[in-house]
């Protein structure tokens, strides 16, 4: 019965596809006037406003429920099922759009381009997780983000990477964030959406390249838990910063740590910080020297990064459509049998002057020059911070989650033998 149904479905699918392809190939067109009036092109209606409000409501409710489950209930099972819900709703039902990660670009574009009207849902999806993180830590990552949810499902055999490797790979999201902001601010591209690894899976229409991209991330995710969240996600950078100042962050133990070490290897994301004994505390002089070194180093790195970035502004701008067009006008295709590029054809048919194209490209290049200085400086700051973090010794007596990198998944809680009396 199932087989028959499957065959009927496939025949229907192919029949529809065949009709479509046949309908396309009506060439040449008829020339006689027959009195037939072409129907107006119908555009699909925008998504109903109520549904956008529903998305916002689901986001807020999910954040509230997950935060309550993480902070108050400390219940891993419930958090897991919330992540399954997020995967179903924000992933497969909403097909990954609107998403908080991509909303960085909407917000950036709205700031730099006043003609861009940002949807309310994009603003809420950008702000709400940050606000909740400021209070409760990264509960959004725990079980509201579908990206995290899908990777969490495949983290079967997570390996410890060690703090150095985590720190080095952890620089990538900062660079990605910087580039995403630069390209959104200049109106060039939404690169986070362009390289969204899971959107093809949400929409069940992944191209081969997208399927491989998402598939490899999931395979890597078996051994390196949540690789996208930890080593690529640009929104994770903002959440990381915000979470460091969170008022109520999840703790491994609900009371006093008894140093049993049971939780030591419980975190698949290497986000548990070990106690640092105070046997050999650094003297004040050493600490002062380190502080002076860092205070000098960071501005130098920022300046150097900014300078390098500014030198690279032209290659960075080369992917901008206006800059690319100007380049193509300056260096037209000269190979035999090579047609003019599509952009040149469109430019010529629009009747624009070359000088206009050059002027527009020049404006974009200037924006990239400024943006590349800032991007380079930002990357310098990140490296400076990384070095500072490695140099400065923090003293801890307990096993605690790193408030920046902890994804509030509540796994570690189950390992703690200390329980509060009910």
């Amino acid at each position: 019965m199932k087989k028959t149904l499957a065959i009927v479905f496939l025949v229907f699918l192919f029949a529809v596809q065949f009709m479509n392809s046949y309908a396309i190939q009506r060439f040449p067109k008829p020339e006689f006037e027959s009195g037939y009036v072409q129907p107006e092109t119908l555009l699909p209606n925008p998504r109903a406003e109520m549904l956008a409000i529903l998305d916002i409501a689901v986001l807020i409710i999910s954040l509230s429920v997950v935060s309550w489950l993480v902070i108050k209930k400390r219940n891993r099972n419930a958090v897991f099922w919330m992540s399954v819900f997020a995967l179903a709703y924000f992933g497969f039902y909403r097909e990954g759009c609107v998403c908080s990660i991509g909303s960085i670009q909407n917000v950036t574009l709205a700031i730099f381009d006043t003609s861009y009207l940002i949807p309310l849902s994009a603003i809420i999806f950008f702000m709400a997780p940050l606000v909740y993180t400021a209070f409760f830590g990264r509960t959004f990552c725990a079980a509201v983000c579908p990206f995290g949810a899908i990777q969490d499902l495949v983290a079967f055999s997570p390996q410890k990477l060690g703090s150095r490797l985590n720190a080095v790979l952890g620089v990538i999201p900062y660079i990605y964030l910087g580039l995403a902001v630069l390209y959104a601010a200049t109106g060039t591209d939404f690169i986070i959406c362009r390289y969204d690894p899971f959107v093809g899976i949400w929409r069940l229409d992944a191209s081969f390249g997208m399927f491989i991209f998402g598939g490899i991330l999931l395979v890597v995710g078996i051994f390196i838990a949540r690789p996208y969240c930890r080593f690529l996600c640009p929104y994770g950078v903002l959440l990381n910063w915000t979470s460091r100042f969170s008022r109520k962050h999840i703790t491994i133990t609900p009371a006093e740590c008894i140093q049993c070490r049971l939780c030591e290897n419980s975190c698949p994301y290497d986000a548990i910080e070990m106690p640092v004994t105070t046997k050999n505390p650094e003297d004040k002089g050493t600490m002062a020297r380190k502080l002076i070194f860092i205070t000098i180093l960071i501005p130098i790195l920022m300046l150097a990064g900014g300078w390098v970035g500014s030198r690279l502004h032209e290659p960075l701008a080369s992917v901008n459509a206006k800059v690319r067009l100007a380049k193509q006008i300056l260096n037209p295709v000269t190979e035999k049998n090579q047609p003019e590029t599509f952009e040149i054809e469109a430019f010529k048919s629009a009747g624009k002057q070359q000088s206009q194209a050059f002027a527009e490209a020049s404006v974009v290049l200037h924006k990239f020059y400024i943006g590349s200085w800032i991007l380079g400086g930002f990357i310098g700051l990140v490296f400076g911070g990384l070095i500072a973090g490695r140099m400065m010794t923090k003293h801890r007596t307990d096993y605690t989650p790193n408030k920046g990198t902890c994804l509030s998944c509540v796994r570690c809680v189950d390992y703690c033998p200390v329980k509060l009396p009910k």
Binding site: F27, P28, E31, F32, L169, Y195, I224, S318, Q338, F342
Partner: protein, 319 residues
């Protein structure tokens, strides 16, 4: 050790993804092809084994525009064009020029050497000396006479405007109409979305009419009864493409069909049952956008193709 290998492999995969993103974004060449362009190049290709004809002769006419071609019993070539008719011998040498004042869209020559011209909504008969012999009544304000054929005492005219074939006697008296839609007699009616509507008399004396919107040939009795039809709708070389094709046809001496198309400009040969036989001329031999490749076949079975864009008469022969 095993754990190290797993971690290193996973990190290499992760970094490969990052490298792919960088390469794809910064170093991939933009696709220069127009994604909205309807690509026909593949459809212009055909089986080279079927290309058994070669162009042996071509000659220009003195007419500003050329619309129709016909052959008489003496193998002379008649070309109708802007405000005139030009007559050539079989080698392409001009014999006569006739000024018709109006511009004929279609042409035929009867057994007496009279020239029948389809001029917009009516037929005119001229002799070779440039004298108008007759002017038949208008077929109607919307008539466009796109093809004429003569068989004995019958003259057939295809009217693309009103989607019908007229049968006249020699004096221009309308005897009957052929091809009007009639479910009772299974006549489907002509679908003619463009002003290309051809008919012809096969060597065995049968009337064949193109039904271009159906990509078919229909064989009628002179009284208008539909006898048989065949159709070949396809974008491939084996069929007729687009909204309405073939635009023109003629019969070889062994009653095979020679057809021409617009959109994808090509000339081909079909068997009497519609089996694709051979390619006479490929799209690469015409300017893109050429329409109205009228056809004629002379006594030597040479295929004459009227090329209105290059203003040439092009003669093809079997290799």
């Amino acid at each position: 050790m095993k754990q190290k290998i797993i971690i290193i492999s996973a990190i290499i995969l992760l970094l490969t993804l990052v490298a792919f993103m960088v390469k794809d974004f910064f170093f991939s060449k933009p696709d220069n092809t127009n994604p909205y362009k309807f690509e026909l190049d593949d459809l212009r290709k055909g089986d080279t084994a079927k290309a058994v004809f070669t162009e042996t002769l071509q000659f220009k006419t003195g007419l500003e525009e050329i619309h129709g071609i016909a052959i008489d019993l003496e193998n002379q070539i008649y070309v109708a064009g802007k405000e005139g008719v030009e007559i050539f011998n079989s080698a392409g040498k001009t014999l006569y020029k006739i000024n018709t004042r109006s511009t004929p869209q279609s042409i035929s020559v009867n057994g007496n050497g009279y020239i029948l011209l389809g001029i917009q909504d009516h037929i005119e008969i001229w002799n070779r000396d440039g004298k108008q012999i007759a002017r038949w009544n208008s077929c109607g304000p919307e008539a466009v006479i796109t093809s004429i054929a003569v068989q004995g005492n019958n003259v057939f005219a295809a009217d693309a405007g009103q989607k019908v074939v007229y049968r006249y006697d020699k004096q221009g008296k309308l005897l009957n109409k052929i091809g009007l839609k009639d479910p009772a007699t299974s006549v489907p009616g002509f679908i003619i979305p463009s002003p290309y509507f051809d008919l012809g008399i096969s060597k065995d004396g049968n009337l064949w009419v193109v039904n271009p919107g159906r990509h078919s040939f229909e064989k009628y009795t002179f009284d208008g009864a539909l006898l048989i039809s065949w159709s070949k709708a396809s974008m491939a070389m084996e069929g007729f493409c687009g909204c309405c094709n073939p635009s023109n046809f003629a019969f070889l001496n062994d009653s095979l069909f020679v057809t021409s198309e617009k959109g994808i400009e090509r000339v081909k040969i079909y068997n009497t049952d519609g089996t694709f036989m051979a390619i006479v001329a490929t799209p690469y031999q015409f300017e893109a956008g050429t329409k109205g490749l009228d056809l004629a076949v002379d006594k030597q079975n040479r295929i004459l193709v009227l090329d209105p864009v290059k203003k040439l008469i092009r003669i093809f022969q079997q290799k």
